[in-house]
Amino acid sequence: MKKLNRRTRVLILTLVMAALLAVVYLAGLLVPEEAVASDFLNAKQPPSWEHLFGTDTLGRDLFWRTIKGLSVSLTVGIAASCISAVVAVFVGIAAAVGSKRVDAVINWIIDLVMGVPHTILVLLISFALGRGLIGLLVGIASTHWCSFARLIRGEVLQLRGQQYVAVSRRLGKSSSWILLHHLLPHLVPQFFVGLILLFPHAILHEASISFLGYGLPPEQPAIGIILSESMTWLSAGMWWPAVFPGLTLVAIVLLIDRLGDNLRKILDPYSAQE
């Protein structure tokens, strides 16, 4: 068999990771409600083959609850990081292309959002929107675009200094033409890489905020809620509700992180060589 080159290997690995995430997501959606229904006869079971992660105090199977929770996390993560990535691109381009005053105002806004600890800002937004899934989503989406917007701004400024941009300006192309044909194509790989790097942050924030009791109602399966319930029983020696769902969350976040890294290698081979 011919040895695969590095790029192909990375490509295959990326596809496998994406498929794994998709499986987790779909499994969470398709799990029937009976699988996570309460079963008081089987409450507080330690992990076994029947219940991989054990059961909680109401006898709900923690493995399926975790998977369901992850699926919610992934939904929130995808939606929030897409929104903030799009916002970041718009804001970043506006800051770089617009006048000095626009740039100053945008910088001020970024300073403002970065000036309040994100956890507190998300709490506040979630409080304002009545603590639902929507509040969580809006909160995470509106706090995560800042650093990415700064990155895009720097990138656009650097691209605008390139000679081919100067040439096409001399050739009489309008600013919007240059933006569309010279700048945006360069930002496409940046956009996807940035998007997927925002993703783990969004998921971690989702878990933290639902852990604090905001976000989803407590009967919903969400990683943060499972972990916050597990705290009550921790000193009674129930360790499995705290350990396994958390480990799964870490595994998923690591997986997404690697996925983003691989995607960067595929889309932006120069940076991968460093």
Binding site: L112, H118, L124, G213, L227, W239, A242, G246, V253, D257
Partner: protein, 331 residues
């Protein structure tokens, strides 16, 4: 000399104006968000009283809270009282918000200061090791650990530490900042530190990786420079090079980064305090939000913004000292 003083004064004034404008904006946004909330603060306040309230009393309360006034008027009232030192009364703890913040901030400050120093020292040291042994096994292992830790949620790390060291091994208490049933005045400093240890370790484990990776990058740049090549040719060892050429180049940038990370520190402390039921600002803000305690929520939000602003300002000033180019530009 006089010119320098004037320049410094001007920088301070500009920075001060920026901070005031940011804080003002934070207060407006926070107030608007709280106003937009579907929760009725008067109803919550009455619920917390635990007794039934006559319509007249309710009307008086509504009058006191100013619920029926237009939002702008309420905001102006709130902010003027705030500037006079009256931060309102917390519905949850039934005490003035300023008192609660002052008391809890002392606890939070102890926690955050410990974590800040610990993560700074640990991160800086590990960053130096990584930079010196670049691409060898210590570097590779430490880098893996750093990336792993940045994927771990703070509260889960806290839970695991709690499980291992407090529940299973029993080395540390499970929560709170002092032993239960002991009078505030009788608590010794050792007991406090004993209670502080686990949350502080959790918090510092969460934040040391960014400083370590940053230091590694900076030290790598130094190690690739020609003066280090020359030093090596003269026969200086790795750690001598670090001491003579490395430290003075990387120490201040690392310190700057550490000051600029106050926002993450505060955000992390909210989670750590909730896991360990540590009575600081973080657990208060979560409780305030859950119990719709509007004055406390607003107060802590504003206070956290002030805290972060101070950190950022110190970082900015340090940048000026580190990098003369920035100093030139800001003239």
């Amino acid at each position: 000399m006089k010119q320098t003083a004037m320049r410094l004064g001007r920088i301070f004034i500009r920075k001060g104006l920026r901070i005031v404008s940011l804080l003002l904006a934070v207060s407006i946004i926070a107030f608007a968000l709280v106003c937009a909330s579907p929760v009725d603060p008067v109803q919550q306040y009455i619920l917390k009283l635990g007794t039934t309230v006559s319509p007249e009393r309710r009307a008086a309360l509504e009058e006191y809270w100013g619920v029926n006034d237009p939002p702008v008027e309420r905001y102006v009232n709130w902010i003027t009282n705030l500037l006079k030192g009256d931060w309102g009364e917390s519905a949850l703890y039934r005490r003035p918000v300023a008192d609660i913040i002052g008391e809890r901030f002392a606890n939070s400050l102890a926690l955050m200061a410990c974590a800040w120093v610990l993560s700074g020292l640990l991160g800086f040291f590990l960053g130096c090791v990584m930079g010196l042994y670049r691409d060898r096994w210590p570097d590779k292992i430490l880098q893996k650990i750093c990336y792993l830790l940045s994927s771990v949620p703070t509260f889960w790390l806290g839970l695991v530490l709690l499980l291992i060291f407090a529940v299973t091994l029993g080395w540390f208490p499970v929560g709170f900042s002092s032993p239960i049933g002991v009078l505030e005045a009788d608590v010794t400093i050792w007991q406090r530190l004993h209670h502080l240890a686990l949350p502080a370790i959790t918090l510092s484990l969460m934040s040391f990786s960014s400083i370590a990776l940053h230091t590694r990058q900076k030290l790598t740049d130094v190690m690739n420079s020609e003066y280090v090549l020359f030093a090596r040719a003269r026969g200086e060892g790795r750690w001598t090079i670090l001491r003579r050429h490395g430290l003075r180049n990387i120490l201040l940038p690392a310190l700057t980064l550490q000051f600029a990370s106050f926002a993450e520190l505060f955000g992390g402390s909210v989670l750590a305090e909730n896991v360990f039921s540590y009575p600081g600002l973080g657990s208060a803000v979560a409780a305030a939000g859950l119990n719709s305690d509007v004055p406390l929520l607003l107060g802590i939000t504003l206070f956290s913004a002030l805290f972060v602003c101070v950190g950022n300002m110190i970082a900015d000033l340090l940048y000026g000292i580190v990098d003369p180019q920035i100093r030139e530009v800001s003239q």
